[in-house]
């Protein structure tokens, strides 16, 4: 790239960042959309007239503390250079810095420093078009590791604990192949070691791509390509993984997997898996507790909309939105198909409540991707945030009532019913990824988002007067991240995970809004079965809880 090209890109980036800071704000908005000092990343998806389907699907974002300094860092997945048209053997130019994934370390003053190259995370491989990211400490060494999904080969980066990472994909045996989308670490057999689940979208390749649309070229629907199975890797504990997709029953079901999320929905002590499928029944893989899974979506009521229609499932959150102690599901999808709340009815069953929950009224004309259920106003009820934007960049040509670019949705939870909130930005974007966490450690949950062809946006929570509590788990018999633990605080429940949303990985700390309460009672059920309780814990603190040795 010439120096002039670099200068133009830099200028465009600066101009765009400047525009963000001028976004209008209402009086009751939850977030400021602020520029992130030191972050010059642009998600380069390279749209073409050939409409290769991968172009419209990236890209992920992670909030993590990779160096354990207590400050949240961010990792952004870039896509790649798609030529128009692509010929056999062509790569995606991932060796070019423009197309690198990026790791930004947060500094004490809230700015960020690009540490990609020194961390060993540059150049994700020319044959890999980037998609998503999962974060988890798979070797229990206390440092979060990073798994990047691609169209191509996925990459596992082991965190060396000294600010650098090593690509251990080959040794670990988790390269997958084909088109991987979202991924997540979880411990399905409660052996204290994090396993890895990878969703795959389609049996598709550049060579077998096709273009749809009668008057203007556009992306073909997923049904035009064969479905494919997701992948489950079992962690052997020696730095290697075993592909147990077949033996576990995961590969018995083929779909169009996009988002993935984990929780123990039936309270049997084993973490279950939900896969958001595009134009297909949703998959709820019930963990049988013996290394196998049974797909229970239809029989449990979590596969279809309330009127029996298939969903275009994209992103998913798996947390308890009505404070009944049971994890519910929130699935985002395409326009004219409301976002679905699958309410957990107990006894292993769900009811689709897209209308009762209020989500239907908020989502008829938009496409949803990254999604989170987080308590943004610390009132004790988890709110919803959805990144939005249509799949087709020319959708307006086909349907004048729809848009390619849309602002995100903030839906405030009023005792189990969602109502439109003010996200603090009406700027429309082609939204995709969203990661949730407390980036500035102020006790209020922020959102970091990605948009196609655009820079990431930080929706920084403006805060307020309500109380909060943030808990960091450290497993001993359980996996060190404590993923799979059920944590209950003052009648609220969270299921410990960094997964969910779309392509993205959240701050693994568990955040609770406490409202007026100045103290909290905590009850934890660890994946090992250990139960721990703490009474009268003071609000307004970051609390680290280590797993008790006693059962």
């Amino acid at each position: 790239m010439s120096s002039i090209q670099k200068a133009i890109i830099l200028l465009v980036s600066l101009c765009t960042v400047g525009a963000v800071s001028q976004e209008p704000k209402g009086s009751d908005h939850i977030f400021h959309v602020i520029p992130m000092r030191g972050v010059d990343f642009v998600l380069r998806n390279s749209p073409t007239q050939k409409k290769y389907l991968i172009e419209t699907m990236p890209g992920g974002v992670a909030i993590l503390d990779y160096n354990n300094d207590g400050l949240m860092d961010i990792f952004l997945v870039n896509a790649g250079h798609v030529r128009d048209p692509m010929s056999p053997g062509m790569g995606f130019d991932r060796h070019e810095p423009t197309y690198w994934n990026r790791l930004y370390r947060q500094n004490k003053d809230g700015s960020f420093t690009d540490v990609t190259e020194q961390a060993g995370l540059a150049n994700a491989g020319d044959t890999n078009y980037g998609m998503g990211v999962a974060v988890g400490d798979y070797d229990n060494d206390g440092y979060p590791d990073i798994y990047v999904t691609n169209y191509g080969r996925n990459i596992l980066y082991h965190n060396n604990g000294d600010g650098t990472f090593t690509d251990v994909t080959a040794k670990a045996g988790v390269g997958a192949g084909g088109w991987s989308v979202s991924a997540g670490f979880f411990d399905y057999d409660n052996d204290g070691k994090l396993d890895l689940f990878v969703t795959r979208y389609l049996d598709w390749s550049i060579e077998r791509s096709k273009t749809c649309g009668e008057k203007q070229p556009t992306y073909c629907p997923p049904g035009d390509f064969p479905p494919i199975a997701n992948i489950l890797y079992h962690n052997r504990g020696d730095g290697t993984f075993e592909d147990v997709s077949l033996s576990s029953g995961i590969a018995a079901k083929k779909g169009h997997g996009l988002g993935v999320a984990f929780a123990d929905y039936d309270g049997d002590g084993f973490t279950d898996v939900f896969v958001a499928n595009d134009v297909a029944p949703q998959f709820l893989f019930h963990n049988n507790g013996n290394g196998t899974f049974s797909e229970a979506g239809l029989d449990s009521g979590a596969a279809l909309t309330s009127n029996g229609k298939m969903l275009s499932g994209m992103g998913v959150a798996f947390q308890d939105y009505d404070n009944d102690g049971l994890p519910d599901l929130l699935v985002t999808q395409l326009p004219h198909q409301p976002y679905i709340a699958f309410h957990n009815e107990g006894h292993g069953t769900f009811s689709a409540q897209e209308l009762e929950s209020g989500l239907g009224a908020l989502s008829g004309q938009v496409s949803g991707w990254g999604v989170g259920l987080e308590d943004f106003d610390n009132d004790g009820w988890k709110d919803a945030f959805v990144m939005q934007g249509h799949v087709f960049d020319n959708i307006n040509f086909y349907d004048g009532s729809l848009h390619y670019l849309d602002p995100p949705l903030l839906a405030m939870n009023r005792k189990g019913h969602f109502e439109k909130g003010d996200a603090g930005s009406d700027v429309p974007v082609a939204g995709r990824g969203a990661a949730f966490g407390d980036i500035n450690n102020d006790g209020w949950i922020d959102v970091l988002t990605t948009s196609l062809g655009d820079h990431p946006r930080l929706f920084q929570n403006r805060g307020g007067n309500s109380h909060w509590l943030t808990i960091s788990l450290q497993g001993r018999r359980s996996n060190r991240d404590g993923f799979g633990a059920r944590v209950q605080v003052n009648g609220q429940t969270r299921f410990a995970t960094a997964s969910g949303s779309y392509l993205s990985s959240n701050d693994k700390r568990l955040h609770f809004g406490l409202g007026d309460a100045e103290t909290a009672n905590i009850e934890i059920r660890w994946p090992s079965g250990v139960r721990q309780t703490m009474k009268n814990v003071k609000a307004g603190q970051f609390l680290a809880i280590e797993e008790s040795v006693a059962p």
Binding site: N307, A361, Q365, S401
Partner: protein
């Protein structure tokens, strides 16, 4: 054998016709044999020679025309058939075949008198439709359907005729009253069918500006908003329609359904129940009523969904109702019934997928 019978029948009608030379009869028989063995070119050659030898024989020209018809050369069939008809205007077979030849070659108007002569309402209706007379076509197609009620071709042409008549009426309306409320309503409806929502909305707004009290306008405008998932605007229009027409069950259903989409379950249930009272046992209304009450009153939902399954059998809506019933039964702790519902759901779904 059949062909020879036709020849004899035709010959019987030629009472005043001159005798056919023996060579022509021989060629006629030779042609018929070729025709029976599907050698249509040889048959046509033989019939042509026979026609040269017997220019006054309607039978010979009829056979020649028929051979062309069998070959698919409809235009070539017309001259010999016209000649035959000139020689024997009373022969129904000649009139009928000439009508078919003309219709097949695109001369629908010319075909009409020939079908009229033989009292063939089906082909006559088709010819009238092609000739741009849908109103007459509908009369004749209906008469033909009275004889053969489930003829798919007749049903197809009848639906075409209906659409054409509607289009003609609309054209007349547009030409005569270009700025009437009904004209704007009709235009709006047309845009709506083409999913041109912005244009459709404008037309309905124009109609409303001229006649705000016209029944149905708000209902149709609301449906435009409904199609765009713009629930608040749809609700507003449906409410206005319901205010104008409180006895309109469709308006009550639409309002109830849009309230349902907005998550206003209590209001939705009330309106849907009202619609069901005005217009009982509409499956769509009952299904929406079930959805509106599923969370708050599962027993009422169970009643509504069950009624849907009684009204609908092998349809997508029946499958949806069983799926919803399974959810309600799970909620009510009736797990065995839920399992049976799911079995029914799967059975109907499978039959819907398998059906062509």
């Amino acid at each position: 054998m059949h062909a020879l019978l036709w020849v004899s029948l035709l010959l019987q009608t030629q009472t005043a016709a001159p005798a056919v030379p023996p060579e022509a009869v021989s060629l006629l028989q030779s042609g018929l044999q070729s025709e029976s063995s599907n050698d249509l070119d040889s048959a046509i050659a033989a019939f042509r020679k026979a026609a040269d030898l017997a220019p006054s024989s309607a039978v010979v020209f009829f056979r020649l025309g028929e051979a062309y018809m069998k070959k698919g050369d409809y235009s070539d069939a017309i001259p010999p058939l016209k000649h035959a008809a000139g020689l024997n205007p009373d022969a129904p077979a000649i009139q009928q075949l000439l009508g078919f030849a003309l219709l097949a070659a695109g001369y629908a108007s010319e075909a009409i008198p020939h079908f009229k002569k033989v009292d063939e309402p089906g082909p006559l209706g088709v010819a009238q439709l092609q000739a741009g007379s849908p109103a007459e076509a509908i009369v004749n197609l209906r008469a033909a359907l009275a004889k053969t009620p489930n003829d798919p071709d007749l049903l197809f042409y009848l639906s075409r005729a209906g659409a054409q008549l509607s289009s003609q009426s609309l054209d007349n309306l547009l030409a005569a009253f270009p700025d009437s409320p009904r004209t704007h309503q009709a235009k709006g409806q047309s845009y709506f069918e083409q999913k041109m929502y912005v244009e459709a909305e404008k037309e309905y707004q124009r109609a409303l500006a001229l006649r705000p009290d016209l029944p149905g306008l708000r209902l149709e405008l609301g449906q435009i908003y409904e199609a765009q998932s713009d629930w608040p605007k749809a609700e507003k229009e449906f409410r206005l329609e319901v205010k104008t027409q409180p006895g309109n069950g469709e308006a009550a259903y639409r309002l109830g359904d849009v309230l349902l989409q907005e998550g206003k379950m209590k209001e939705a249930a009330e309106e849907l129940q009202r619609s069901n009272t005005i217009r009982p046992d509409m499956a769509d209304t009952l299904y929406s009523l079930g959805r509106a009450t599923a969370a708050s009153d599962p027993t009422a939902a169970e009643r509504a969904f069950t009624r849907v399954t009684e009204l609908e059998k092998q349809t997508a809506l029946a499958a949806q109702a069983y799926l919803a019933l399974a959810g309600v039964h799970r909620k009510l702790g009736k797990s065995e019934q839920a399992s049976r519902d799911m079995q029914e759901y799967r059975r109907i779904q499978a039959s819907i997928v398998v059906a062509p």
